[in-house]
Amino acid sequence: MKGDHHMILRVIAKCLIPLILIYAFYVQFHGEVGPGGAFQAGVVLAVALILNALVFGLTATMRAVPPWFTRSLAAVGVVIYAGVGVWALLKGGDYLEYQALFGEGPGGHHGQHAGIIIIEIGVLFAVSGALTTIFYALAGRVAEIRDEDW
């Protein structure tokens, strides 16, 4: 973070990171009609954080998105996904049977849409949380990434 020879990199990263985040959410909520889905969106979300860590320093990123948050996010994501299955069980259907969420017969689509959107959010949380945790675990071993390390 010392010196100013990374100014162009930092300015460009500052412009790019919000766009990457928006793109991640576009991929997430557009997965129903286009390519991509929660796995890809989670990866893109994690990549935005990693870019932030590489350019602005790991400590700044860890202050913004602390490690306890990312690992909890990963666990919460899996629980959300599994919870949809339990919801279907409680409604009298099979595990992860989305038709049963609102008690619809064959051909009803509300349960399918709701179930898919909720589990995709779970996948987004799990993937982005887990990947950020992996990156923190690897990059956090060295206190600061110096220029000559590259």
Binding site: V33, V43, L58, W68, L96, P106, Q112, I119, T133, A137
Partner: protein
């Protein structure tokens, strides 16, 4: 679109070009010793494969390859590289003759098997006429989701995807358990920067609370 894929000379040329780039990059990766260059070249390899996947109409696979292979794993490999040496140990030429023969034989067997594969986009191939066709037919009535990939992954094979999500979570958990959560370095850095003392104290305490 099938005609363009099967008969187009231009598409065939681009195919050959991309595969040739993949080949050259793979050879370069095998011969290089600088880990930084190897990590960067593996990112290039993923990006070129992603372009090739999109050329053969596997858009979802190409997207995943670009995001995971070129973006994510490059960043993770860079992070891992910081923990080790910058160059690989030099090896005597022909010291790995056994693995080389195994690779050669496996490659020849794969090429021999690929002769029997149906052509790309063949409507009578098992992929396009079997269960894939069934999904295309029943998907709209069952789920009302336009993208069949999404409905197959999230609805028809929801169990599968739950397992994959658990695998990703377990991978993150395993790495974190082996290497730590990276909080020690955060605490160290914060201790060494006195101007951020108050914020450092709260951050560290918060981290300590979570088991």
């Amino acid at each position: 679109m099938t005609d363009a894929m099967l008969g187009g000379t231009g598409t065939a040329l681009i195919n050959i070009l991309l595969l040739a780039i993949l080949f050259v990059v793979a050879i370069a990766i095998a011969r290089l010793r600088s880990l930084f260059a190897i990590v960067m070249l593996s990112g290039v390899y993923s990006l070129v494969s992603a372009a090739w996947y999109i050329l053969v109409d596997a858009v979802d696979v190409g997207f995943t390859e670009a995001a995971v292979g070129a973006g994510m794993s490059t960043a993770i490999m860079l992070g891992a590289m910081l923990l080790t040496a910058r160059t690989a140990k030099p090896e005597r030429p022909f010291s790995r003759i056994g693995p080389f023969i195994v690779c050669l034989v496996a490659g020849i067997m794969l090429i021999y098997a690929s002769i029997d594969l149906p052509p790309l986009g063949d409507p009578t191939s098992p992929v396009n006429s079997g269960v894939g066709l069934t999904y295309l037919k029943v998907n709209w009535y069952d789920t009302g989701v336009p993208n069949v990939v999404t409905s197959v992954l999230a609805s028809y094979r929801g169990f599968d995807t739950l397992g994959e999500t658990a695998v990703v979570f377990t991978a993150g958990l395993a790495v974190a358990l082996l290497l730590g959560f990276g909080e020690r370095s955060l605490a160290d850095t914060l201790r060494r920067t006195p101007k951020a003392d108050s914020r450092a104290a709260t951050t560290v305490r918060k981290d300590g609370d979570v088991p």
